[in-house]
Amino acid sequence: MHGEYKMPGGKLVVIDLEVRDGRLADVHLSGDFFLEPDSALHTINATLEGQPEQATETELTNAVRDAMPPDVMMYGLSPEAIAVAVRRALHREAEA
């Protein structure tokens, strides 16, 4: 499943994922955003992996935010935007 979201004033945030046994699996974040250090990409993917399929946007946002070390820098990307892209992938909503 595939979801895209361009946050206002931000960059394109893309999520590809599967659902297995009611949980997110094979989650891959991509896009033309800026994220440092780049290892944070794998932290975000690992955090989303296994989240309940029914998790709300707020719950997903908090999960990503809580997993981020304090030195992470996001530009054109935010935990909220990632959560929106995940929900869109799950709902197969039309992209903005």
Partner: protein, 258 residues
């Protein structure tokens, strides 16, 4: 760490013979590290391309961005850079690409948005001298009344900031749309039929040869910030060539975000 200004540094210029796409990726990695470690003075590097390439951003999906068959058919190499941002379609002579390797102190206290505009203020001035009214379009574009001119990306590494920019000098829009998938999607969204409507290259805006635009940019940087002629050191080149052949050519890196 105190905030520094351009003139607090002894800026060096590297502008050399055309080099391969993977070597360019590796030189950005090595020279950023050298400036951060204090072994190299802050540097402006103007790129010359030896071969066509698609350069995708650090976090872009290779599969989603690039039509691999089309790239192969056109003989275009696909490489991944160390910074975020979007895909660039490069043909030798069609783009002007440069990198600034600066100590972090130069952008200390600036927001990301301010840092992008600050590091490219000299380019806006050079463009104005060429008769082009251009401005910064957050987050990371240089644009003009005619359309987008350039895209920038930054990455921070151990005491240094790498700021690199690709400007469109000329563009083969049909080939670009053949190779870049995202271009097709964005265009279909906007209902336009030609990429040339979104990007207005410097050739049509200035009527000048590419070399003349580059000469103006170098002269403007030199006048505003000071600039001494330099070259890539032998040890830097050895490191970069090794990285180009290992990391930057490896499928593991290029498809790191599949």
């Amino acid at each position: 760490m105190m905030r520094t200004d351009w003139r607090d540094h002894d800026w060096q210029l590297i502008h050399t013979i055309p080099q391969s796409p993977t070597l360019h990726m590796a030189l950005d990695d090595v020279l950023t590290h050298e400036v951060g470690a204090g072994r190299r003075k802050p540097t402006l590097r103007i790129w010359e391309w030896a071969a066509p390439a698609v350069v995708i951003g650090r976090f872009q999906s290779l599969r989603n961005e690039v039509d691999a068959d089309a790239a192969s058919r056109h003989g275009i190499e696909v490489v991944r850079r160390v910074s975020g941002g979007g895909a660039m379609f490069i043909e030798p002579g069609n783009t002007i690409t440069y990198s600034i390797y600066a100590p972090q102190s130069l952008v200390k206290g600036l927001s990301f948005q301010e840092a992008y505009a600050f590091l490219d203020a000299w380019v806006l001035e050079a463009l104005a001298e060429l008769g082009i009214k251009a401005w910064y379009q957050p987050l990371n574009d240089i644009t003009s009344e005619g359309g987008k001119i350039a895209g920038a990306a930054q990455v921070h590494r151990g005491g240094a900031v790498l700021h690199h920019v690709t400007m469109a000098y000329d563009i083969d829009a049909s080939k670009m749309l053949d190779v870049l998938r995202i271009g097709r999607e964005k265009l279909s969204d906007k209902g336009t039929t030609s990429a040339a409507k979104r990007v207005d290259p410097l050739r049509s805006q200035t009527g000048l040869p590419r070399e003349a635009v580059i000469a103006r940019m170098i002269a403007t940087f030199r006048r505003l910030h000071g600039l001494a002629d330099d070259h890539v050191r032998a040890d830097e080149l050895v490191q970069a060539e090794a990285l180009a052949q290992t990391k930057f050519s490896s499928p593991a890196w290029i498809a790191d975000v599949a």
